[in-house]
């Protein structure tokens, strides 16, 4: 299997995406660093049609000055999925993309069957700032064990500045009362994942999602940092795929313990 690049028109944007796999559609919205395929994408594509969008204003796309709020970007991404003929899908949002995903789920509840949030940045510690720095500095923020991981890509300066401007404009307050009010109305099953060693979004933030969202499952991924799907892809994929397959029933164990039949 391998991901193929495609483009789709939505809301006047030409939106790049990577797609692979067959099965129930799973839409992924990336974090503030832009779209980067990980081993977890490959693993999820074994059971799902994975569509990983590059949101307008990220990567090589034109600067996005039209999305004035998260809800705008969320509706654009819903339109992008619709333009691919995907009217109903599971939705995975990572970090910054987690906040976009929450808005998408709130504004288009019929489209989102289940929502998975990986280290979401929708509720942040007071006075948090977007992470910037050299690849080495970013690795220390993003990974539990940077010494074991490849350095994050050092994006061209124009791309970094473009990302920074867009994220800075859309990220909103650390506690977004408007978003938190709509989170309380989400009816679909939601899975929230935090790495136990996340240095960008402390795992203690997870309890807020659990409190605010009615049908929310909080799972800590041991020994992972912010990029769970990169650092512990097997652990990430196992719980995400199980949740997407069985929804709330994923809490019922199917692991065997027979050693020798």
């Amino acid at each position: 299997m391998s991901f193929c690049e495609g483009f789709v028109e939505a809301d006047g944007f030409r939106i790049r995406y990577m797609e692979d796999g067959a099965g129930p559609p799973l839409v992924h919205l990336h974090g503030a660093g832009g779209l980067s395929l990980t081993p977890a994408h490959d693993m999820l594509a074994r059971t799902h049609r994975v569509i990983a969008f590059e949101m307008p204003g990220f990567g090589e796309s034109a600067e996005n000055t039209r999305s004035s709020a998260m809800r705008d970007l969320a509706s654009t991404m819903a339109a992008a999925a619709g333009a691919l003929g995907v009217s109903s899908f599971d939705l995975l949002g990572s970090s910054f993309g987690g906040k976009v995903a929450l808005w998408l789920a709130a504004l288009h509840p019929a489209a989102v069957r289940a929502l998975v949030l990986e280290g979401p940045a929708a509720i942040r510690q007071a006075d948090s700032q977007p992470a910037t720095g050299t690849p080495e500095e970013m690795a220390r923020r993003l990974y539990a064990h940077p010494e074991r991981m490849p350095l994050p890509a050092d994006l061209p300066m124009n791309v970094k500045l473009k990302h920074r401007a867009l994220v800075g404009r859309l990220r909103g307050p650390d506690r977004d009362a408007e978003l938190e009010a709509v989170m309380a109305g989400l009816a679909m099953p939601v899975l929230v994942l935090f790495g136990t060693l996340d240095r960008m979004m402390p795992p203690e933030m997870g309890r807020h999602y659990k409190t605010l969202i009615p049908n929310c499952h909080l799972v800590f991924v041991y020994d992972a940092g912010h990029l769970i799907g990169v650092e512990r892809p097997e652990a990430f994929t196992e719980v995400v795929a199980d949740f997407l397959e069985r929804r709330e029933a994923f809490v019922i164990s199917r692991r065997g313990t027979v050693l020798l039949p």
Binding site: L193, T196, G206, R207, K210, T211, H217, L218, V219, F220, V221, Y222, D223, R232, A235, F236, E238, V239, F250, V251, I252, S253, R255
Partner: protein, 356 residues
């Protein structure tokens, strides 16, 4: 200085019992075991009257040497039969345990004896892994992960799932809740020191010479400094054997007559294999083989005056503010001798080390 009495069940084996591990179950005199275990109450109440601060318990299996395979059961028994003394579980062997069960049992004990339970978590040595069939190569990883999970179970206010390497739980939300997240990480390794420092927990070391244990507690203090805090004396526990006599000469005579063999040793090929299997054992990062089922050293020996000086030196060198003591080797000797030594310690040493 706080003083702890290490309660080991004190089953006195008959002289003809095979000196081997495991000891066959058929050799167990169930009446004598019952007396020994129920006697924990008398001994705990005795040291409580003497002014001891803690009675401690540990987990060991398949021999009468230390007869507490479930320290939690022992703790619950003692909690209901003592009034003031703290009960220290030093501690459940974490890598062979279900971490949620450990978290729940400590929370229950805290509810049963509020403010009187001291929690210790440890990795244990490879001989302990024989009992519950644990691969020594996985012990470090299982311990680190399980301890993280136990602390998370004690502190997380909302139900959560755990996606680990060795443990997976979709739903965790323990009842009763534990009112505190404190406790001790037990071990001499760099990993134990770093973990304790990162979580603002105490550290417990055992049996090694003062200077060797000081390397471990020094590393721990260094790690604490890197995490922005300074541990106090109560944050460092030192478990040790002591021979206390009325005089130095009497204590030395007891030491000279001490059996140089462990009561129920693992020996030969199996001992060597267990040591070889434990590839990550270290003291503050320096490789060190474990004492696998062997005889444990005597750290303190003398009459009261000399013992007081040794305790002062222990405090200076190791930094320990809690001494967890055996005054007779577990699994050996008579009960009367130990009770006399405890009484002597309570009368002649304890009042003089209290303010160290």
């Amino acid at each position: 200085m706080k003083i702890s009495y290490f309660e080991t069940g004190r089953y006195i084996p008959p002289p003809d019992m095979p000196r081997e591990w495991p000891v066959r179950s058929s050799a167990c005199d169930t009446d004598a075991v019952s007396v020994a275990l129920r006697g924990m109450e008398d001994r705990a109440r005795f040291v409580e009257r003497l002014g001891f601060d803690w009675v401690s318990l540990s987990e060991h299996h398949y021999s009468p040497r230390i007869l507490t395979p479930s320290p939690t059961v022992s703790a619950a028994w003692l909690a209901g039969r003592t009034n003031r003394i703290k009960i220290a579980l030093l501690g459940p062997i974490v890598p062979t345990s279900n971490p949620i069960r450990v978290a729940e049992e400590f929370a229950m004990l805290d509810a049963l004896a509020p403010g009187r339970i001291v929690a210790g978590l440890l990795r244990g040595t490879t001989n302990e892994y024989l009992s519950y069939d644990l691969n020594a190569d996985e012990a470090r990883g299982r311990t680190d992960e399980a301890m993280e999970l136990i602390l998370r179970a004690w502190s997380e206010p909302e139900p959560f799932g755990w996606q680990g390497r060795y443990f997976q739980f979709r739903t965790v939300s323990i009842w009763p809740r534990r009112p505190t997240n404190g406790g001790y990480i037990l071990g001499t390794s760099a990993e134990a020191g770093a973990f304790a420092a990162r979580h603002r927990m105490g550290m417990g070391v055992s049996y090694g010479p003062f200077d060797v244990m000081a390397r471990s507690t020094g590393y721990y203090r260094q790690q604490c400094a890197e995490h922005g805090w300074t541990p106090g004396p109560d944050d460092i526990v030192y478990r040790a054997n002591m021979i206390l006599g009325e005089t130095d000469e009497q204590a030395e005579a007891i030491l000279a007559g001490r059996d140089g063999q462990a009561p129920f040793p693992i020996s030969g090929v199996l001992k060597d294999a267990l040591i070889a299997a434990d590839t990550s054992r270290n003291i503050a990062g320096v490789r060190q083989n474990a004492n696998v089922g062997g005889v444990l050293p005597i750290s303190f020996c003398g009459g009261p005056d000399r013992i007081v000086e040794q305790i002062k030196r222990c405090r200076e060198v190791i930094g320990a503010g809690v001494l967890d003591l055996s005054l007779t080797d577990p699994g050996t000797g008579g009960l009367d001798a130990m009770m006399e030594a405890l009484d002597l310690f309570g009368r002649t040493v304890l009042p003089r080390v209290r303010d160290i």
